[in-house]
């Protein structure tokens, strides 16, 4: 992508998640975000990468992800692309996270909701036959949480 501040292509190996977090965190701190707000955004980007590795690629570690970050007129845009199995949009819709009682806890599904809670605008765009594109936007971002 032209004019991207970050454009990285990485293999779908969870061992690389720490490196991605470090890069995104450094970028956000350089852009003036405070540590707490940067941590939230890093978490959400990590969740998007994790979802692609787990669900689009089913845990296979030899596929590719591409993360692009760019500034645009309204704020900052993060885009994650994969070439895996398209994930149904219904599974990615925003829902209120209910406070569960301990007897009815389920361990899954949190990652997508964390992405929605951190970013101002989120679009999950599965391909017709393959691949997914996740667009996550911070609009006129508050740089402190």
């Amino acid at each position: 992508m032209k004019n991207a501040d970050i454009n990285i292509d990485l293999v779908s190996d969870p061992r690389l998640l720490g490196s991605v977090r470090g890069l995104v965190r450094t970028y956000l701190l350089n852009e003036g975000f405070d540590s707490d707000r940067a941590s939230e955004i890093v978490l959400a980007v990590d969740e998007a990468c994790t979802n692609a590795m787990r669900h689009s690629y089913g845990g296979s570690t030899d596929n590719r992800l591409r993360l692009t970050v760019r500034k645009y007129a309204r704020g900052i845009e993060f885009v994650l692309r994969d070439r895996g199995v398209p994930v149904p949009v219904e599974k990615c819709e925003r829902k209120e996270i209910a406070v569960p009682d301990a007897a009815h806890l389920t361990p899954g599904g949190l990652g997508v909701q964390l992405i929605h809670r951190v970013f101002d605008e989120v679009k999950f765009q599965p391909g017709k036959t393959a691949g997914n594109r996740v667009v996550m936007r911070l609009i006129s971002p508050e740089k402190s949480s």
């Binding site: 969870p14 998640l17 720490g18 707490d36 969740e47 994790t50 590795m53 361990p107 949190l110 964390l114």
Partner: protein, 106 residues
């Protein structure tokens, strides 16, 4: 930074798992294995010390939820000890900070 994990048995039925580092998709299976081994071994309580966890994502949260459920099935006390600010933040974002028993000291 990767994750380091240690386990302790106080001899009176309480087991403690101590985590140092980051809990994410890559490291959470190690935590899951430790919890899976500790739940049947403990007769009274399982504590997970999170004071030195620099980062945790939803895979870590999911692993702790699994641990809580397994402990409840065996009537074990399941406690998160001294969670670091980053752990507390993801528990709050997940609205699970009130579901777990959280203590500053054992």
């Amino acid at each position: 930074m990767a994750m380091e994990l240690s386990k302790a048995d106080d001899g009176s039925g309480k087991h403690t798992i101590t985590i140092v580092g980051e809990i994410d998709l890559y490291t959470s299976p190690k935590l899951r294995s430790a919890i899976t081994e500790s739940v049947p071994a403990a007769s009274r309580a399982l504590h997970v010390s999170l004071a030195s966890v620099e980062y945790m994502d939803s895979s870590g949260v999911a692993t702790l939820v699994e641990g809580l459920r397994a402990a409840m099935e065996r009537n074990l006390e399941f406690v998160l000890l001294s969670p670091s600010p980053s752990v507390l933040k993801v528990l709050q974002l997940s609205r699970l900070d009130t579901v777990f028993t959280i203590r500053e000291h054992a």
